[in-house]
């Protein structure tokens, strides 16, 4: 048996699509939605409701669908909560019902229905409190398992997503008659136009209604409009594209379902694409959504929106029922009756809740339909509607057999996007609809979205708004002659709730909120519309109340004896319909989550088998395993020893480098750094510290004076960007009078440390032999330009992080690879080793140099033992607040070295200091261990830490504790400089 009509519709009967629902095989056509194909195959029971697990079918034909949610696809591509009404049918489609067990027809939890008197709005706030421990163990797991809808996939999504930007003069949202009209007039002026519609077919209700425009079917008019738009060069059409959000300054978020109509996206193509439309002007032509009526068991499968029934009949050539009852409070419901009859369906009656005079007047216009002035009080049936109870105005009741109830409570403008920027719609008492009021800048509204409900009005307002939008962008055109259209009437007398209903009367279908719930909530004191929403969850389901909000507001207003206008709406928020997180993530996932920055020696290091770690955006070598070495320990110790005994090579290009020139270069540098630079001679470098204006440490590095008015300053890897911005701020906002120019040269220079007693020897082999590297000619902290053996220029700095005789040499970035290879090759007989971050860390801990774990934004120069460097002679950033008593309090935790008393004991970063013999509790907390390492030179674990009054306590023994991991050790407090405190080696 099939409900497919023999002819008509906008489906392609040449192209059959096989599909499966809950394992059963069916067939539909290209151009079907999953919902229409299911209806065509007489599948009516699609899902179970959230709370009571009541059987649910298909209510609508669009994105407002609250009931027909399925799990689409399977495995890693499973998409829970997918609206069958929105899914474009494709060959091979697989869908499964959800939120039921063991099966859709026999769902054990339907038993909830029996307890429904208990499960009223907010019931869980009143119970499950005793015993307290039962919440997590018993009640909550139970509730959680019962709640939720579909199941998310568990594996990584195999598909690919991307994002794009598109600019236009006029963005038209919605391609119904109003949107097409707007796009036409705007595009004809020569403006750049984007037209987006969420549906796979453009045309809006032109595709769903039996209407004519200038005598031809509305759908044909739409097709011609689309063809004309396609022919214009500066028009872009976006079918399958939902504009989901309105953001500031004409930025619109949209998602294009590029390949959701296929089982799997074609190779190289994304599944979906997020668009950021940037529009000067926007015409919102998003149409309207029909409201259900509130009567008993109005959620039974087979009870549908009347407009949706027309969509199924006219667009999809499906008769959703053999024998229908129409229930309406407005004129439009009658069109459904007429369309059903025209399609060969049977209409048992149209039940119109309005005054008998209106009903008899309409009866004269639709003589073939039996009309009853009255109300449907309840629907009956098991898993599908079988009859309805109708009470006429005169009070007589009767039962009408039917398998379809088409209900119409009037249409609400789809005005969500007018409100995303915080504007509220206005209640129009006359038409009893909310209409857009204040609009986001640049937006105008046309057609049903503006309350201009008839086809004629939609076309007129569309044409006009398209034209004015283009004019606002500086393009002029003229109004076309208006087409003749079929008459339409939209009179309505709102029926918010059937009073004498039998059975549950649903307002929000998906969240199982009934009219009684609304009334109880108001009675309990939750009287604001926002309280109603939150207490009952009305409007909070995946449909965001598209079909239920207005009714909910009206019922609350009635209950509180307030006007609907004063009751107001809840807040409309993006997205308009739910958007896959993957689409919003786009390309930036997995390894591309964040860009990766490669140090100049990366290729060389990876050829040597280096292990890499990330350091901010950079990948840096952490160690270079030698033959037979596995974990970090062996290579690190070997590398450290080699640096201390021979020579090592390390890429330090990741440090920020800023080249500063100009007559006022020194002035800027003096104000940036807390220590003195005025005395720095050309050809020399100096360690410098920068504070934040609040007096805490910001960054450290070196500044080398390359020429009279030229300095090269280095920053830590992690603060490079911040320091650069800070310098610009100082220059542009604090001291714009300075004549100084600077630019980041971090990428211009590949820079390598050559460290160890034999570094001079190694360096000599790659440099121009003329260059004198002797202590006299190039002493510790010397800096200057040099030449490589091949004549290429380089910069050389005699600075040392390791405490050894050491240099840093810099060459233009693209020469870095060949220089590091040359250095490595030239030093083989000297015992040269590449070393990584781990060894670098050991070397600096041994030498007491601070890095990020000490420069953590919470420490002062005083804490780190470099307080004496702060100049008292000059103004610099941080000079004033850095002097606050608390920042220089001797009782603050301050930098010390620690070594384990037991040479075999281990240390770990993050341990806390506790005095020996004291209880391991917070009153005795005296600071923490910032950095640790195993020193292959001292042959024991050592560390740095911030210890209360630390510098006064050298020689004292304290405990370091790690209760988190159950470890502790006794350590001796010492100077943070473990190796060569006199600095003889680095000056050697």
């Amino acid at each position: 048996m099939s409900s497919r009509l023999a002819q008509g519709g906008m489906i392609n009967r040449q192209q059959a699509c096989r599909f499966a629902f809950d394992g059963a095989e069916y067939s539909g056509y290209a151009g079907d939605s999953l919902a229409s194909a299911l209806l065509a195959n007489d599948v009516r029971l699609i899902g179970r409701s959230f709370k009571y697990h009541r059987p649910r079918g298909i209510l609508s034909a669009g994105p407002e669908e609250p009931n027909a949610l399925v799990e689409l696809r399977s495995g890693a591509r499973r998409e829970p909560n997918t609206r069958a009404t929105d899914v474009e049918l494709y060959d091979g489609l697989q869908a499964t019902s959800q939120n039921r067990w063991p099966s859709l027809r026999f769902d054990v939890q339907a038993i909830n229905g029996l307890f429904s008197p208990l499960f009223v709005a907010g019931f869980y706030y009143k119970t499950f409190m005793w015993p307290a421990s039962f919440w997590e163990k018993v009640y909550e797991p139970m509730i959680r398992r019962a709640a939720g809808l579909g199941r998310a996939a568990l594996e990584a999504d195999p598909d690919h997503y991307e994002k794009s930007w598109a600019h236009c003069d006029v963005l038209v949202i919605g391609a119904g008659p109003a949107g097409l009209a707007a796009a036409l007039t705007a595009a004809r002026t020569g403006a750049r136009v984007i037209l987006a519609d969420e549906n796979f077919a453009l045309g809006g209700r032109c595709l769903a209604e039996r209407r004519t425009i200038d005598g031809q079917p509305a759908a044909d008019w739409a097709a011609q409009a689309i063809a004309e738009l396609r022919s214009l060069p500066d028009v872009r059409l976006f079918p399958r594209t939902t504009v989901f959000g309105v953001f500031d300054d004409g930025v619109y978020g949209a998602v294009e379902r590029v390949n959701d109509h296929l089982p799997v996206p074609p190779e190289f193509q994304p599944r979906q694409r997020v668009w950021r439309f940037i529009a000067k002007q926007t015409v919102l032509a998003s149409g309207s959504i029909e409201r259900p009526l509130v009567f008993g068991n109005n959620d039974l499968p087979g009870v549908m929106l009347a407009g949706a029934v027309r969509t199924y009949v006219n667009r999809y050539a499906v008769l959703p029922g053999r024998r229908a009852v129409i229930f309406t409070d407005n004129d439009d419901g009658w069109n459904t009756a007429a369309d059903l009859v025209a399609a060969g369906g049977q209409v048992a009656a149209i039940v119109d809740s309005r005054e008998p005079v209106i009903v008899s007047e309409l009866s004269r216009r639709f003589p073939e339909i039996q009309a009853i002035a009255g109300e449907v009080t309840g629907a009956r049936g098991g898993r599908h509607v079988e009859s309805v109870e109708v009470t006429s105005r005169s009070g007589t009741s009767r039962r009408l057999d039917c398998d379809l109830v088409a209900m119409s409570g009037g249409w609400s403008p789809t005005l969500h996007l007018t409100s995303h920027k915080g504007n509220r719609p206005r209640w129009d008492e006359e038409r009893s609809i909310f209409v857009p009021d204040m609009l986001p800048a640049g937006m105008r509204v046309a057609g049903a979205a503006n309350g201009d409900m008839t086809l004629g009005e939609a076309l007129v307002t569309g044409f006009r708004q398209g034209l004015t939008a283009a004019a606002a962008c500086g393009f002029s055109g003229s109004m076309p002659t208006l087409p003749r259209v079929t008459d339409e009437s939209t009179r309505r007398v709102p029926l918010w709730r059937v009073r004498q209903a039998s059975g549950k009367c649903f307002v929000d279908f998906q969240n199982d909120v009934t009219a009684d719930d609304v009334e109880l909530t108001a009675h309990e004191g939750y009287r604001s519309i926002e309280h109603l929403k939150r207490y009952t969850t009305l409007g909070m389901a995946t449909d965001q109340g598209k079909t239920s909000n207005v009714t909910g507001i009206a019922l609350l207003a009635q209950q509180r004896s307030m006007s609907i206008a004063a009751t107001g709406t809840t807040t409309f928020r993006p997205p308009y319909t739910p958007v896959a997180m993957g689409a919003l993530a786009g390309h930036h996932r997995g390894m591309d989550f964040r860009p990766t920055r490669y140090a100049p020696s990366h290729r060389w290091a990876s050829e040597l088998g280096a292990s890499f770690t990330e350091s901010g955006p950079w990948l840096r070598a952490e160690w270079f395993p030698g033959p037979g070495e596995s974990a970090w320990f062996a290579p690190t110790c070997r590398e450290v020893k080699a640096v201390r005994s021979a020579v090592g090579l390390c890429d330090v290009s990741t440090l920020g480098k800023i080249d500063v020139q100009g007559p006022d270069a020194l002035k800027l540098i003096e104000r940036l750094y807390a220590n003195n630079f005025a005395t720095l001679a050309v050809g020399r470098a100096r360690y410098g510290i920068m504070l934040r204006e609040d007096g805490f440490m910001f960054d450290d590095g070196t500044a080398a004076r390359l020429a009279e008015n030229r300095y090269l300053i280095t920053t830590t890897t992690s603060h490079a960007v911040q320091v650069y911005q800070h310098m610009h701020l100082c220059h542009q906002a604090l001291w714009p009078e300075l004549d100084v120019q600077f630019v980041s040269v971090t990428d211009q220079w590949a820079q390598f440390a050559i460290a160890g007693p034999r570094s001079r020897e190694l360096l000599q082999r790659v440099l121009d032999p003329q260059i004198d590297l002797s202590n006299q000619a190039f002493p510790f902290m010397a800096a200057g330009e040099v030449r490589l053996r091949n004549g290429e220029p380089a910069r050389l700095f005699r600075i040392s992080f390791s405490g050894e005789l050491a240099y840093e040499i810099a060459v233009p970035g693209h020469d870095g690879d060949s220089l590091i290879r040359a250095l490595h090759a030239a030093g083989q007989d000297l015992g040269v080793v590449p070393y990584g971050l781990e060894a670098l860390n050991v070397l600096r801990v041994e030498k007491g140099h601070v890095v990020g774990s000490e420069l953590n934004g919470q420490t002062t120069a005083h804490d780190l033992g470099i307080g004496r460097m702060l100049s008292t002679q000059k103004d610099f950033i941080g000079s004033v607040l850095g002097r606050r008593a608390n920042l220089i309090d001797p009782a603050r935790p301050r930098l010390v070295g620690i070594r384990t008393v037991d040479r075999n004991a281990k240390l770990a970063g993050g341990m806390h200091f506790i005095p020996q013999g004291a209880k391991c509790s917070i009153e005795h907390d005296q600071g923490h261990v910032t950095s640790v390492c195993y020193s292959p030179i001292l042959e024991q674990w050592i560390g740095l830490g911030l210890l209360t009054r630390g510098p006064e306590r050298h020689g004292e023994k304290v405990m370091v504790v790690d209760p988190l991991r159950g470890a502790e050790a006794l350590v001796e407090v010492c100077s943070p400089v473990f190796i060569d405190p006199e600095g003889a080696r680095l000056r050697g």
Partner: protein, 203 residues
Amino acid sequence: MADALHFAFNPGRLGHREGAPGLVLQELTQFTLASVIACKDQAAQAAAAAQRAFGTSPPMAPATAAGNALTFIWSGPGHWLALGPHATGAVEARLGTAFGTHASVFDQSGSRVLLELRGPRARDVLAKGMSIDLHPRAFRTGDVAVTTASHLAVHLWQVADEPVYRLLVVRTWFDSLWRWLAASAAEYGCEVLAPAPYASHTA
């Protein structure tokens, strides 16, 4: 020799295989590049100096200006990138002499990768990561944008109406930029040509 930081960037066809590629891409090598920043209140004098030395005034708005041996690419107010074919001799010295006390010069020759992009879908590919408007009404031959592509800082300028673009990106970020570009071009098909010296591409 290929750049040591090109890990997956090789000549050849990638992505969609049928038909003409939507994007044709070529790396241009062997160029010199320098940041030129006008001294305080000296932008006009710097421009005049450039006019004398290179036969063109660096642009005061986001645009390029081609002189003999050098093209100035706007990079900010009073700030340009000077791009020219690789030449021996320190670029700082050469430009420094020309600009004298009117501007400071910073060698950047080793810092960037330079790409040329053309093809019928070049615009669409770029729009996947760049928020600027590339429509011919908004961005024309000679226009420059200092902006971001896939969140990475780039200089982009148009060199022909076809359109043909050039893109400068920081070398240490190049691999990430390329991963985005390759993914974005895949649906249209992309042809990567063998690298060519910058000089051979510039009249």
